[in-house]
Amino acid sequence: MARIIGAITTSHIPAIANAMANKQEDSPYWKPFFDGYPPVRKWLNEKKPDVIVLFYNDHGLEFFIDKKPTFAIGVADQYHNSDEGWGIATIPPVTGESELSWHIANSLVDDGFDMTICQEMKVDHGLTVPLSLMWPGNDYGHVKVIPVCINCEQYPMPQPKRCYALGQAIGKAIESYDEDLTVAVFGTGGMSHQLDGEAAGTLNREFDLEYMDKLVTNPEELTRYSNLDLVKKGGAQTVELNMWIAMRGTLRGKVTQLHRNYHAPISNTGAGLLLLEHEMPEKS
């Protein structure tokens, strides 16, 4: 059976890709952010998950508002990045896991999550920046990635409790897969930030830190937030925490925090990093 061995939250903002391209990791501005990553990279290099299920939001590369899926899942063997319009370098192709992707898609729709199923899907910084961060030098070719895309742009967007339930359904789907694969789940984006409007620059450190605490110990409480609550607490794009709560839904039993870092601001955002493990099901 396939098993989830752990989960990670990380920022995915484009400025990170630029900082890496310009070798600014040790600059005073970036160091407190990048210093958080070595323990997470070490865990990935030791545990060597076969598959990453990666929750992200597309920011207008693959999806336009002509047809905007609420939830989409990639089922391809490979995904490509492309020019997003403002100059971050494109990265090499990302390897997919088509068979497990289809299994998850089948299971999700049977469970009432009516996914948009994508055989071609350009992946933007929401997916690529976390991979570049975890495997410096874009050395991620060995790992297979299943993209799960959540609408964080256009209302109506799925509420936190629905995203959490989606995560639970994905966890169940993975456990019911026969092949012996190890899976790590990434929840990307966040935390508090607002890019648009006169209130641009909204950021809430206290809220972010509390959210990280509760994500580990009491995620159900976080599912009581509405999207509008998140916007009021942390700014318009704080709804990206829906990828975090979806990730948390895939975990079961007691969850242990192995590593944590928080730094703000990075660009306009609060950047939170968590490495989590959970009570894995017995190997069958």
């Binding site: 400025a15 920011h59 207008g60 590369l61 336009f64 508002i65 002509d66 492309s82 020019d83 997003e84 319009g85 403002w86 100059g87 742009e153 256009q154 209302y155 109506p156 607002q194 890019l195 648009d196 409007g197 006169e198 209130a199 641009a200 620059g201 909204t202 950021l203 809430n204 450190r205 206290e206 999207n227 509008l228 916007v231 009021k232 700014g235 318009a236 794009q237 730094h263 703000a264 601001p265 660009s267 306009n268 609060g270």
Partner: protein, 120 residues
């Protein structure tokens, strides 16, 4: 008030709902095209003509011409696509944050730093 109303429930925040998505469709479609270098080049050669090609309203064209980010949001722009327009102008998120919140870049960055450290 909810996020679905035409009236916006949170001051200084433009929630991109159905009203906005309909109003800003052409504008956002134009900015979505800026993913392609050829589109950026075509826009730069004759911005007004490029706006007309996507059926932008007079108010939207004026906001593009004046690089008025707030006006673009009010006219239905989604920040995801407006950000591509900002990128074409070589402006980053702090630049447009400062413009929108009506302060200098230094003041905007100082505000972020203060909030990020929990002091404000």
């Amino acid at each position: 008030m909810s996020e679905y109303d035409s009236e916006q429930p949170i001051p200084g925040t433009y929630l991109f709902n159905g009203h906005m998505a309909k109003k800003g469709y052409g504008l956002n479609k134009m900015c979505f095209s800026f993913n392609e270098q050829s589109a950026r080049d075509e826009f730069n050669q004759d911005p007004d003509a490029y706006c007309v090609k996507f059926g932008l309203t007079e108010r939207q064209i004026k906001a593009i011409r004046e690089r008025n980010i707030i006006a673009l949001l009010k006219e239905g722009g989604s920040i995801y696509y407006v950000a591509k327009f900002a990128g074409l102008l070589k402006l980053n998120m702090q630049d447009i944050g400062a413009i929108q919140s009506g302060q200098s870049l230094d003041a905007f960055n100082a505000m972020l730093k203060k909030r990020g450290s929990g002091e404000g």
